[in-house]
Amino acid sequence: MGLFVAQLLTGLANAATLFLVASGLSLIFGVTRIVNFAHGSFYMLGAFIGYSLMQVLPGMFGFWVSVLLAGLAVGVIGVIVEILVLRPVYKAPELFQLVATFGVILVIQDLALLTWGADDVLGPRAPGLKGIVRVLGEPVPKYDLALIAITPFILFGLWYLIAKTRLGILVRAATQDREMVGALGVNQAWLFTGVFFLGATLAGLGGAIQLPKGGADLLMDFNILAAIFVVVVIGGMGSLPGAYVAAALISILNVFGVTYLPQSTLVLMFVVMAVVLMIKPYGLFGREEVAGEHGQVGEPERPIKPAGIAVRLLVAFGIFLLALLPWFGSDFAQVLTADVIIFCLFAASLHFILGLGGLVSFGHAAFFGGGAYVAALLVSYLQTPMEVAFLLAPIGAGFAAFIIGWLCMRLTGVYFAMLTLAFAQLIWSLVYQWGEFTGGDDGLVDIWPAAWLNGTTPYYYFTLFFGIGGILILRHVAHSPFGYALRASRDSARQAEATGINTKRIQWAAFTFAGALAGLSGALFVFSKGSVFPTELEIGRSFDALIVIFLGGVKTLSGAVVGGASLEYAKDFLTRFEYWRLTLGLIIIFVVIVAPEGISGTMRKMAERVGIIRGREGDS
């Protein structure tokens, strides 16, 4: 009984931070419709800034003032980000703004590294609250009790702000009908900035307030990201009570999980989320979102045509050059190029559902890593020959996509994206925590190709064949009736359904197909590296592909391929420098602001303007 109560208390204490950060994310989404991926970074900054302030402000008073100041400082940083990075892209397609926030993540990571160094920082213990208290015989840190006591005040303060102040009223009104708020004389731009300030402040407070429990480190931005998304999605986007209930639920479940099912703490969170979303697709307190008519915003895409002779010759020449690489390139060049091809296939498979289908998946890594793990597990446990494992990998990944697709297909837009992320994280946490089967953090090693493929050059050709082959298959299917039906479902689901197309089933099939090809790239990957680790299933993997597609240009497959190649080569080049994230992040933000159509789209427009290629008729 004592242990039970103590754990309940710990759970509630942990919920304080989670609630603060998640409610900020939820508020920002509710009003601006931006999914702020940089929210974890705000949280991390709050922790570091709070830590620095605590070094100079001593005593109990100093501690709490530091927490408050850290929150406000992060709020100001949030305003800077909003004004400099997001304002220029509010008019861009909704999801393009995501990419800008990815850029912010990278920039903040390096700025934090520059300022506070790479070492973890041990949080100072709160003066006056250092000891423990015995509750029913069990030790509970005093600070936990303080947090539990403070949380209702935070809740009340936030509730007061939202329920009683003019800002809060405007926020709630704008969450419901932004246009009408504008027509009543309210400047949306400043309302957005205000909400960003509030949301970032909450994240900063969350980061500072957990210092005595968790300290600060450079990984905490990504570590909390999944949890706060889960909280927001379970609670319902834009709902504060939902965020609190979900934060408490997740935190308490987590504490009990640690005790009774230590191997499943992470899995548990995502299982809860999946179950909630299957019963209430818009979260416990969320309301249904009416999806727009089109899966994309902005200029409609142009018709696609199979490549003409000239382009085919060009592509053939490119492949020919790649085939010649082993004659003039080093082993390193071959390995790097193989990596690039594998990544391009992965990005191209995501492009198939995102570009043609308008289905934004945040969890595509599940199928890349999934394919890699299927092959690795088969080899490790069943001594399956490499050739067979290689073929079974895409089938296994496709099967996973088939199941996950079925579960996600009921939702659209951001909710669909969130659910794919949740399932990807579920798979990641399963692999990560089921150590005795998957090797956990140590991964699976000694997964080498068959003897006839041993060596850099044979495997390079193997990768070239299947990688380029996969991309060409994707391209061909895009031009087939199936690809057209997928585009039709995106362009106008109304018309498609009214002419006999089961749009959900088409999208489901496409999701499965794309998953299988991502699995193929995963299989190529695992045999080229000889090993696989849970990182291949992480959010970061999915983000890489998303960034590439948005930066390369959503509208064309070549955008994904060109973008994929550029990013891989750029990473290879940049990672030699110490602050490569900062550079890459700034480049991403720059591209987003300057070229909202992506690199290939913008280059095409420029080329049309100066007359290199013929413009679309009707363009002026």
Partner: protein
């Protein structure tokens, strides 16, 4: 003669509001039937129930003797009902002819094929439909840059692809220039007469309604208040009142004016 479509006691409530209340009507073979009424009369609700986009609270919709209630729009389409939309719905990323080819691929159940090139499929057939609506010379243009009137024509071509028995047209001339309205409506009338297709359409433009409808249904506040020929509807005082306002409240003003 058996009716093509028969609507029996069709009702739909939203909360306490009866948007459509026990509506009955029939569409005969080859008939152009107009459904009119002021804003909020329940036209769209009624239409959406016929299309399968909205489930009726009660009542039945029989098409060639088969009850359509509870079926998906795509299944209703397969039974032989085509439709056009009030706000045009076309595939903006495709060319004009590909829009029609898409409907043909769906009709021939080829949408899961991955091997052939889609742009080569049913091309001549698609061109015939475009010729029918006068869009053949624009077949290869990008759908997104089509003029609004042409988009409406394209929708008509798409709706004709599966040789429908009945066409449901939601405000076929909305958003078009007045001169274009007449030509699109005349085109529709010619095609459906030639192919002996029945049409049920809603419309705001009374010139279009009186110029082309064989019979008119008038909805007000969810109830069918009139059902008759063009002349009958024109001379129906109740219909006049619905359109011009009035009622007890304004009787004094009416007497004064």
């Amino acid at each position: 003669m058996n009716p093509i479509l028969e609507v029996r006691d069709l009702s739909k409530s939203f909360g306490g509001l009866k948007a459509v209340n026990a509506v009955n009507f029939k569409v005969a073979e080859g008939e152009l039937l107009a459904l009119i009424g002021p804003n909020g009369a329940g036209k769209s609700t009624c239409f959406n129930m016929l299309m399968g986009q909205l489930k009726p609270s009660s009542g039945e919709v029989y098409f060639l003797g088969e009850n359509l209630v509870g079926k998906f729009p795509r299944d209703i389409w397969r039974k032989g009902i085509g439709r056009t939309f009030q706000i045009t719905a076309t595939y903006a990323s495709m060319t004009v002819i590909e829009n029609v080819q898409m409907a043909l691929m769906s009709f021939h159940k080829r949408i899961y094929s991955m091997l052939p090139y889609a742009h080569k499929m049913y091309k001549s057939e698609a061109l015939e439909f475009l010729q029918m609506v006068g869009l053949a010379d624009q077949a290869e243009r990008h759908c997104a840059i089509l003029a609004y009137g042409d988009l409406k024509r394209l929708e008509l071509a798409i709706a004709l692809c599966h040789n429908p028995t009945l066409l449901l047209m939601d405000e076929p001339t909305a958003g078009m220039a007045p001169t274009e309205r007449e030509s699109v409506m005349q085109l529709t009338a010619d095609i459906v007469t030639e192919k002996n297709i029945s049409v049920l359409f809603t419309e705001h433009d009374m010139d279009v309604v009186f110029g082309h409808a064989h019979r008119i249904l008038v909805l007000n506040r969810g109830e069918l208040i009139a059902n008759g020929s063009v002349d009958e509807i024109r001379n129906n005082p109740m219909v006049q009142e619905v359109y011009l306002g009035g009622g007890n409240l304004f009787e004094s003003e009416e007497a004064a004016s």
